[in-house]
């Protein structure tokens, strides 16, 4: 069955990934180059996305910024999914007081508003890519853990898990070899979803001035700066904002397709 939307998502995400890797190579200008006499130019063949009020090429800056906007959420999502999976598998399978304590801890983390935690934490330790990653991991581990825990609970009483227990399989084998493959569909979808939210959060932090520090370009901060000079250089807002939106939509389409494909296979 053809899935045009999933394909579209895949294409979008691939283009952005290529941008992250090769963007700096194909960018016509360095990200911080201030081109003399070229401030506030609208998009043209020379400056595809126009220039901002300082005379920097917006196209080049968007290309340069792709690396951060994909790497930081990417690393953070990978860590959050990793920790979340381990916690979810363990609490879901073992249950008892461990589950009780860890799950309540996770619930209390979930209760903290995302931006509040980010502002407080980054305010305390200073803004840095590592700081942003820590914030995202703290925010998403409980969510991933909860999803994996409930998927694990569904499998825990399956005959094949009980058969493994009766063979005396070690805990790690049961968690990672027997249960993990079964929760993989849920995990894949959740990872893609978390990744798209992490992109949003990272750009929001950039917008608030807590992202990657200048002069490295950051789409979020570019949106923020573009907003200030919207009257004169609207394109300086349009293009980074559009890039964020497009990337998030792409990842979401992909996640949606993934969900359908994996569910289909799971049902077979």
């Amino acid at each position: 069955m053809a899935r045009p939307l999933t394909l579209l998502g895949l294409v979008i995400v691939s283009v952005f990934l290529l941008m992250a890797v090769f963007g700096p190579l194909i960018a016509p200008y360095p990200f911080d180059a201030i081109i003399r006499g070229a401030a506030r130019l609208p998009p043209s063949p020379e400056h595809l996305f126009g220039t901002d009020r300082l005379g920097r090429d917006v196209f080049s800056r968007v290309l340069w910024g792709a690396r951060e906007i994909i790497a930081i959420p990417g690393i953070a999502t990978a860590l959050a999914v990793g920790f979340g999976t381990i916690i979810g598998l363990a609490t879901g399978y073992l249950g008892g007081w461990l589950d009780e304590i860890v799950s309540r801890l996770m619930d209390s983390l979930l209760a903290i508003p995302a931006l509040l935690l980010a502002l407080a934490l980054l305010g305390a330790i200073g803004s840095s890519p590592v700081g942003i990653i820590i914030v995202i991991v703290l925010l998403y581990v409980p969510i991933v853990a909860r999803v994996i825990r409930s998927a694990t609970l569904n499998l825990r009483s399956s005959g094949y898990i009980e058969a493994a227990r009766l063979r005396g399989e070690p805990l790690m084998y049961i968690l990672f070899r027997e249960i993990l493959p079964g929760v993989l569909p849920a995990l894949a979808v959740e990872s893609a979803l978390r990744f798209s939210y992490a992109i949003f959060l990272t750009s929001s932090l950039g917008f608030l001035g807590l992202g990657v520090q200048p002069p490295t370009p950051d789409w979020g901060r570019m949106v923020s700066e573009g907003r200030e000079s919207y009257a004169t250089t609207p394109w300086a807002l349009w293009f980074p904002a559009g890039a964020i939106a497009l990337l998030v939509i792409g990842v979401n389409l992909l996640a949606d397709g993934l969900r359908r494909i994996l569910r289909y296979e799971g049902a077979a």
Partner: protein
């Protein structure tokens, strides 16, 4: 001849697939007169539910009627508009579904839900409708209808819920009642009572009924005409007594022979039907049953046999019915003798012994009470002592909630018993799984109930078996030997070597269960605990698995703890029987003692409730009134006194009954002396 209530002629139905239509029901005709109970039998995928719904004029959104018509008292149902049909459903045409809890709305009281039907169809006032709802509840023999009417579905037991759906179905005085496996989820004791109720109510209401079931025993008990479906086609249709006494179609003959009966005994194997039912997509061009038919001739594979009337009301679709009726072709070979089975019935030693086993849920400790909020103690297993003798099978029977599964799980270690001693092969066995030695794990394996989650869906059959061998073999096996052993195991469970590379999704339910048996036998265990291993399987497949278990016991010298609610299946395998009621064993003895002379009043009722696939034996002698008390509030004294038909008096309510020895290892836990209980059995008329 009265006019039939419902008449289907040449009904064919298709389901929409991605490419084209899939024919699910082909050219089926049947009619039911008032007061008639028509049985529709078939294995899963035979199209019986599709057909049943079609008789109500219902088509699933992805289904179509591709031929034929259905008339309700002369009116063509499929020419009616949706609005007209909706007016008929629930009034003229009623359905009693299998899952009664799903059919009831959890947010409304029982009374409101029944009243809704009459308000809708007869425009009764709220008060009158409620009054009638209470009356309906009384009619389905609910003891306290006024208070039950005010309760919510979840507050009722499964049997009570099913009574409520029956009350609802009957409250609009339907002309046709469609009963879709209405007792499949119930215990035999409850089932027997509900079947009696159906019979009475259909008499009372003068309705016609279609009874859909896979259970030939139940069909024999209640129906007067039976239609056998196979792969969407009618194989035979006959008056019930004729179908069971003189089945003509090879499929009917095979199906009836493959059911274990309480009298089958341990010496024989069940005759089975080879092969599996065809997928609807690739039905054979000739007779659909030909590939599995022992009497098939070459032309059976090419020419479709017509449905022929061989006697009044008796139709058969078989080319060779003449020869079968005349006895020129035998469909069944003589029942094979099972491999000689030497049960060490009186052996002093045991493979497994459990003494004073207890398992209580809830109510333990302040932490649980704080976190789980429930302080109700449920004594699931309460001071149980059992033993399994070498190379023999202990059958554990009882209603749901009797604690039989918990007992089995405590023995294998999936649950940790709170108290009691376990011994495996005369060596103490820790109650905790983690403390058991590798050798003990090897000797004690289990086969689970649900074939669909018994195998890891992400591993091939070969990988699953290899892992079991790797973990459980006494000596480490090199990979090539492991592979060899996998093939041997597959052969033992009668699967071809190519199954090693298949994933569970590519296997049928029976095949999955056979792989599960192979996994349990990977390292020649001493004891295999089988918890309802065949209850999710079709009759013809169940026979294959039961035979396999029987053969393996002889081949491998293993013992079984076999748990089932199906007393006939237990009788087929077990040498010893233990009957459980509310967490305790109430009777134990050899299979013969327990089945031929069931002495405890509970066992007696249980055995008398078995739906025997023989219409001549319809309606057992003893029915239990009321439902089993919940395990959270166990009655004082004898736990069975609330339902006991032979209750002596106050002593049963206050004192726990003693064990009575009836000789030969036969023990009964009852206040009535064993000799007296046995005498009751001898004087009672034996039905078989």
């Amino acid at each position: 001849m009265p006019n039939p209530v419902i008449e289907a002629r040449g009904v064919s139905m298709d389901y929409r697939l991605e490419k084209g239509w899939l024919n699910a029901v082909r050219d089926v005709s049947l009619s039911i007169n008032p007061l008639g109970i028509h049985g529709l039998v078939g294995e899963s995928g035979s199209g019986k539910s599709t057909l049943a719904l079609a008789l109500m004029g219902y088509l699933a959104p992805n289904a179509r009627l591709s031929g034929g018509a259905v008339w309700l008292e002369g009116e063509d149902l499929f020419r009616k508009s949706q609005a007209e049909l909706r007016a008929l459903w629930g009034s003229q045409l009623s359905l009693v579904p299998q899952d009664s809890l799903a059919a009831l709305n959890p947010a409304y009281t029982i009374g409101d839900q029944i009243a809704e039907v009459t308000r809708q169809h007869f425009g009764l006032s709220r008060r009158a409708a409620w009054q009638q709802a209470v009356e309906m509840l009384a009619r389905v023999r609910i003891a306290d209808p006024t208070s039950v009417a005010r309760q919510y579905p979840h507050q009722l037991s499964g049997g009570m819920q099913q009574r409520v759906t029956i009350a609802m179905a009957l409250s609009a005085r339907p002309r046709l009642l469609v009963l879709d496996e209405p007792t499949t989820a119930l215990d035999v004791t409850t089932e027997a009572v509900i079947l009696d109720l159906f019979r009475e109510l259909i008499q009372e209401t003068q309705a016609a009924a279609l009874y859909v079931s896979h259970n030939l025993g139940v069909i024999a008990q209640i129906c007067d005409q039976v239609t056998v479906l196979y792969a969407g086609e009618v194989m035979a249709s006959a008056p019930v007594r004729e179908l069971y006494a003189r089945p003509v179609h090879p499929y009917t003959i095979g199906l009836l022979a493959s059911i274990p009966r309480p009298t089958t005994g341990v010496e024989t194997r069940l005759p089975t039907i080879p092969g599996v039912a065809p997928a609807l997509g690739d039905r054979p061009p000739g007779c659909v049953f030909a590939p599995r038919c022992p009497a098939a001739l070459p032309h059976c594979f090419t020419d479709k046999p017509p449905l022929e009337m061989i006697a009044p009301g008796h139709q058969v679709r078989c080319h060779r019915w003449h020869e079968i009726v005349n006895g020129d072709v035998a469909i069944l070979t003589q029942p094979e003798a099972a491999a000689p089975h030497v049960a060490h019935q009186l052996a002093a030693e045991s493979v497994l012994s459990a003494r004073g086993l207890r398992k209580t849920y809830g109510g333990a400790g302040w932490w649980r009470r704080l976190t789980r909020g429930s302080a109700r103690r449920v004594r699931a297993v309460d001071d149980v002592t059992v033993r399994v003798r070498p190379q023999s099978t202990l059958g554990l029977v009882g209603e749901s909630g009797s604690g039989k599964t918990t007992l089995a799980r405590c023995i294998v270690g999936l649950e940790t018993a709170d108290d009691g001693q376990l011994e495996l092969l005369a060596i103490p066995l820790d109650r905790r799984l983690a403390r058991r030695s590798r050798a003990q794990l090897r000797e004690l394996q289990m086969v689970f109930q649900n074939p669909n989650d018994t195998l890891n869906p992400y591993r091939t059959v070969g990988q699953t078996l290899e892992r079991a061998l790797e973990r459980l073999s006494p000596q480490p096996l090199p990979p090539d030997q492991r592979r060899q052993r996998v093939l041997e195991l597959l052969e033992v469970v009668r699967l071809t070597p190519d199954y090693a590379d298949r994933y569970p999704a590519e296997l049928s339910g029976g095949e999955k269960q056979r792989v599960a048996v192979a996994r349990a036998f990977a390292a020649d265990p001493a004891l295999v605990v089988a918890d309802e291993p065949t209850s999710a399987l079709d009759v013809s497949v169940q026979a294959v698995v039961l035979n396999l278990l029987k053969d393996l016991r002889a081949q491998k010298g293993a013992s079984y703890l076999f748990i089932s609610h199906d007393l006939s299946a237990v009788a087929y395998l077990a040498d010893w029987i233990a009957v459980m009621y509310l967490g305790q064993i109430v009777e134990e003895g050899t299979a013969e003692q327990v089945y031929q002379r069931p002495s405890h009043p509970y066992t007696e009722a249980l055995i008398s409730s078995i739906p025997v696939p023989d219409p001549a034996q319809a309606g057992g002698r003893i029915r239990l009134t009321g439902d089993a008390p919940r395990a959270a509030d166990i009655p004082t004294g004898c736990r069975f006194h609330t339902r006991c038909p032979r209750k002596l008096g106050p002593v049963c309510e206050t004192d726990a009954p003693p064990w009575q020895e009836a000789g030969g290892g036969h023990r009964i836990r009852c206040h009535i002396p064993a000799a007296e209980l046995l005498a009751l059995q001898v004087s009672a008329p034996k039905s078989d």
